[in-house]
């Protein structure tokens, strides 16, 4: 039994990423990312700079760490996954199958994210001989990786490197060349702290950098050496060794980067530079949150990112084997990341911790610009550091993004703007990168070109001149009484020498045979040979052609009255009419022929939709040509038919033929067509829109896809082994066809009213189309004013500045500088500096917001902001005493500190919604003795959770008036309590 669920929108947060050459192709690198429980392989196309998903796999667990490793001398990287399964899993990516293959799966402990069960940390010996997997506390296991005689990867039984009472902060593998594999761990021992009642031991608990050596000869792990670290660190970066570098490790500590190595190497200590004139609390330490290493045969460097998002380039200078100097240079600023990967193709993949993930192209390596480079040799007092100015991107160029809703704080599903489908309003993001995203079900369409036409056309096709051509040659547009032929090149221009008849509407056209064109118009068929010779077939007088169906070798037309005429291409590339015609019982409404299968002369079936509400399958086999095979009754008139072949998953398996029927009542019917008997089975219906459904064949990722146009356009396509039927977020299309040119390899040409549009679909597989509105602080809660469709949200950030406070702080800084200056020269410089500080307003969405002291808050009710007050609750309330007015009540806490939780008081802001909900007016502010955590409308009054009390407030002229109160449980329950309580009271 298989139980599974499919999420509409999968997780978009990337917790960890690893890059490597997983498909084993030289010079191609992929990025393996963990999105919650989904393991994905991304490929960054170096030509277009677009990210595409190669493979996506649901693991039904939590991925906590990822690692890429390669056996010595190998060309292919394996993926090691640390998860909550209590197992170490080694995966290999199989490019042919587009799937991960589990090479090894070794159980070592219980399931779950536990304290002493490994899975949190992973590190590998740079030569790929051993992998260490560590837990937050105590346990570390080392597995030896090797290959057997058949070159398969082997894994040893685990070797323990446990240490009791130790908390692990980071692990990395040290590049020791081919000596015994060694791992470095940042640990704190808490044994003494647990036995010291004075608390001094805990205060002085020192972090140690411990080296574990795997003795390959004796097959065990020894704790080789431990050295205390002066400042506490959170991250380790392995430095290349052997021929490439000095080996050793960089410890990322608070405020410092320290290079350490075994042996005679003295520590090289370099402070992390800080932003000049920043508004941050200056006592706050600075940390490195993630790093990436780039190594070629000639050089290596590290990119490290600080908490504020600033990236620094770190290089090491050596004298012999000894590192003498560490250099650090400001590189660029990007949003804070969970992981960064530098790809060999010159791209930087950034998995943002919150918000969209980015792909940057590394344009320059900051080698020769005027940015100051700081050195560990510069003599500095303890606690002093270097300063730099932030600036726009100089070395990186953003090339692509992956949309991410993470963190999704809250969401609301409703049709607020009166479209026919509801929208999802999602409050996403954190701090200045927060957004309100409106999600609509649909595929994003990028418009390549739109051009006006002289009238309203009714059909469009593209044709190739030759079967071997890569791109289309002509666009053919049919009007009521004319046909326009446009040639595709650098630009799209009208041509008259194509051989097409321009004075009549066209019913259908296409390439026939190797290099001839075919035009079907009401009074005949025009066969245009490559040398412009034209063969014409005239329709009988007063019986014009009504419908047609063509493929590369066959042509079927229906004449008025329901007679079907069949043509086939013979050996001399002439169209030959079949000796018989077939009378149908009623008018033909639509017809379709499938493409000629590979290696065959003809398609075996013709499908015809008739006015008697049936679809009939007619054989085209020479033995029983035009004999009816099967039929199916329909609920409404067929408008359009399309036979499509879906190739089997793997080569060699047979394909499936689907018959798609667009009905005039707006439904799409899909049935499976038996390839031998022509029977129709397995009906599926889907409602697409209010207008009759027309079907067109387009190309998506080199495979046939179906474009269905009704009151909305829908695309039915196969993507990553799954069928998707998705509406396009675009206007309704009248008629469309696939389009391919040098500029746009895979597009769609369509007509809508009197315009010709060329479209491209890039975000395949996406379910939602996003519209983003930026917000200032982290959104917390919202209310929807139904009458106006307005959305009112509260935004709050811990330890952040409001606009006003920021301005004040900038002025303070400027004044400080002015006061420091003594003689006039200095004064002039100081004034200039002060001026620049006052006017320096960086874009916080890029550079991050400055941090205020602990216990400061900034919040906004979209427009109104207050310092020190944290908005926690919002509600629409209608007071009994004020019948016709709707109030917005916002509950705040004043001067709340998170740890330990201290709160002075709280307050409630009352706003009146005016102008039908599009404006709000401040009425008054009511002080309360504790934080206001919840507000709810209740019987014409406001039910408000204040600290641990539940109070009822009524509207007053100067403030809200408390009517009654009761003491109830704790803070946390409040959010749920209000609903429950109001229900209870009602009973």
């Amino acid at each position: 039994m298989h139980l599974y669920n499919l999420t509409l929108q999968g997780v978009t947060a990337i917790n960890c990423a690893a890059h490597g050459s997983f498909s084993g192709l030289t010079k191609q690198q992929e990025v393996c990312v963990a999105k919650g429980s989904i393991l994905q392989l991304l490929y960054c196309d170096p030509k277009t700079g677009k990210i595409s998903v190669l493979c996506s796999h649901e693991i039904f667990g939590i991925i906590r760490s990822l690692l890429a490793f390669r056996l010595t001398g190998g060309t292919k990287d394996y993926i090691v996954v640390g998860s909550d399964s209590g197992r170490i899993v080694v995966l290999e990516y199989l490019p042919q199958k587009r799937a991960f293959d589990r090479v090894h799966q070794e159980t070592y402990g219980k399931t779950g994210c536990r304290r002493v069960v490994p899975g949190q940390y992973l590190a590998v010996d740079p030569k790929g001989r051993a992998v260490i997997i560590g837990a937050v506390e105590r346990q570390k296991l080392v597995y030896i990786m090797n290959r057997d005689a058949q070159a398969n990867l082997t894994i040893s039984s685990p070797l323990e490197a446990h240490k009791n009472y130790s908390i692990c902060f980071a692990i990395c593998g040290i590049d020791v060349g081919f000596e015994n594999p060694t791992f470095a761990c940042l640990e704190i021992d808490y044994e003494d702290a647990d036995h010291d009642p004075t608390g001094a031991a805990a205060k002085n608990a020192q972090q140690t950098l411990t080296f574990y050596e795997l003795d390959l000869g004796l097959n065990h792990v020894v704790r080789k050496y431990a050295e205390p670290v002066a400042e506490r660190g959170n991250n380790l970066i392995s430095v290349p060794g052997g021929h490439d570098g000095p080996s050793g490790v960089i410890v990322c500590c608070e405020n410092y980067l320290v290079y350490k190595n075994l042996g005679d190497q003295p520590d090289v200590r370099c402070p992390i530079p800080r932003r000049r004139n920043e508004l941050d609390d200056s006592d706050r330490s600075l940390m490195i949150i993630c790093s990436a290493t780039h190594k070629t045969k000639a050089m290596y460097f590290f990119l490290v990112q600080s908490e504020q998002g600033d990236i620094f380039k770190v290089t090491l200078e050596t004298e012999g084997d000894i590192v003498s100097e560490m250099r650090i240079k400001y590189f660029d600023t990007i949003p804070p990341a969970n992981s960064m990967c530098i790809l060999k193709t010159g791209f930087l993949f950034v998995a943002s911790e919150f918000g969209n993930h980015q792909l940057y192209q590394i344009a320059r390596l900051a080698d020769d610009d005027d940015e100051p480079e700081f050195s560990s040799r510069t003599p500095l007092e303890e606690g002093e550091t270097f300063f730099y100015m932030t600036r726009g991107l100089q070395n990186l160029v953003l090339v692509d993004q992956i949309d991410s809703l993470n963190p999704l704080i809250s969401a609301h599903i409703e049709d607020l703007v009166n479209e026919d489908a509801p929208q999802i309003y999602a409050l996403c993001g954190r701090g200045p990168r927060s957004t309100l995203r409106i999600l609509r079900n649909g595929l994003e369409v990028s418009e390549m070109a739109v051009s006006e036409l002289p009238g309203n056309p009714n059909a469009v096709w593209t044709v190739k001149r030759n079967i071997d051509d890569q791109f289309d040659t002509y666009i053919i547009v049919s009007f009521l009484n004319a046909t326009l032929v446009l040639s595709i090149g650098e630009t799209v221009e009208e041509v008259t020498d194509s051989g097409f008849l321009g004075t009549t509407p066209t019913l259908g056209c296409g390439l026939i045979g190797e290099d001839s064109l075919l035009q079907i118009y009401p009074s005949g068929i025009r066969h245009i040979k490559v040398d412009r010779r034209v063969n014409e077939w005239k329709a009988p007088p007063r019986r014009p052609i009504t419908k047609c169906a063509i493929n590369r070798r066959q042509v079927v037309i229906s004449l008025a009255g329901g007679e079907i005429v069949y043509f086939e291409l013979d050996m001399s590339n002439q169209l030959r009419e079949y000796s018989e015609r077939r009378e149908m019982p009623s008018d033909v409404l639509c017809m379709s022929l499938s493409e000629v299968p590979e290696g065959e002369l003809r398609s075996r079936f013709l499908t015809v939709g008739l006015a008697d509400r049936t679809v009939r399958i007619i054989s085209l086999d020479p033995s029983d040509c035009l004999a009816p095979l099967s039929m199916q009754a329909l609920p409404s008139d067929p408008e359009s038919l399309m036979v499509m072949e879906t190739p089997g998953e793997e080569t060699g398996t047979s394909s499936i033929i689907h018959l798609n029927i667009g009905l005039s009542n707006g439904c799409l019917l899909r049935t499976t067509l038996d390839q031998v008997t022509g029977d129709l089975t397995d009906n599926r219906t889907r409602y697409l829109g209010t207008k009759p459904v027309k079907l067109f064949r387009v190309k998506i990722q080199k495979r046939d896809a179906l474009l269905a146009s009704s009151s909305r356009a829908w695309l039915f396509y196969s993507y990553q082994n799954r069928f998707h039927l998705t509406p396009l977020s675009y206007t309704a299309l009248e008629h469309s066809s696939s389009f391919s040119s040098e500029q746009c390899a895979e597009g769609i040409v369509a007509i809508a009213e009197n315009t010709l549009r060329i479209l491209a679909l890039e975000k395949l597989g996406a379910v939602f189309n996003q519209v983003t509105h930026p917000l200032k602080y982290t959104p917390r809660k919202y209310v929807v004013h139904k009458a106006s469709g307005n959305f009112i949200s509260i935004e709050t950030d811990y330890s952040a500045f409001t606009e006003k406070a920021k301005r004040r702080r900038r002025n303070e800084l400027a004044e400080e500088i002015e006061n420091l200056a003594k003689d006039p020269d200095e004064k002039a410089i100081a004034e200039e500096m002060a001026h620049s500080i006052r006017n320096y307003e960086p874009d916080e969405a890029i550079f991050g917001a400055p941090r205020a002291q602990i216990g400061k808050w900034a919040s906004a009710v979209r427009m109104i902001s207050a310092q020190g007050e944290a908005a926690f609750s919002i509600s629409l309330v209608q007071f009994r005493s004020q019948h016709d007015a709707v109030f917005v009540l916002v509950g705040c806490a004043i001067d709340l500190q998170l740890r330990p939780r201290v709160c002075q008081s709280g307050c409630i802001y009352t706003f009146l919604l005016t102008q039908n909900g599009s404006r709000f007016e401040f009425i008054h502010r009511t002080l309360t003795d504790e934080a206001v955590n919840a507000i709810h409308d209740f019987r014409g009054m406001a039910l408000i959770g204040v600290g641990s009390k539940l109070r009822m407030y009524d509207f007053g002229k100067k403030k809200l008036l408390a009517k009654c109160e009761t003491r109830v449980g704790l803070f946390q329950i409040h959010i749920y309590k209000n609903n429950n309580f109001s229900n209870n009271i009602k009973q």
């Binding site: 994210c113 536990r114 002493v116 009791n164 908390i167 702290a193 940390m287 949150i289 908490e307």
Partner: protein, 93 residues
């Protein structure tokens, strides 16, 4: 139980000791309130770090980066509930 005797009891004790050494945080008969609470806190902190979404939640609340939130939680694991209580001389009796 039929086979109860001193050997059986020692066997159980040995098993218990083995469990305690294998699983950090296993309780024992002489455990005091502080030890119990400290183990609970360390377990919870490790669990928050282990669940990426939970760590993001903490990071958003405190308006810190995820790396800083993880670092803070790890540091708190050293002594999550203050110093241990003074040993009373009665404990050793």
């Amino acid at each position: 139980m039929t086979s109860s005797g001193p050997t059986e009891r020692f066997h159980v004790l040995a098993q218990l000791e083995h469990l305690q050494s294998k699983y950090t945080g296993c309780g024992h008969a002489d455990m005091n309130r502080w030890e119990w609470v400290v183990n609970q806190h360390r377990d919870s902190l490790a669990s928050i770090i282990g669940h990426p979404d939970h760590l993001s939640y903490v990071a958003i609340c405190e308006n810190e980066t995820r790396a800083r939130a993880q670092y803070n939680l790890l540091c708190r694991m050293v002594q999550p509930c203050g110093p241990p209580p003074e040993k009373s001389p009665l404990d050793d009796l």
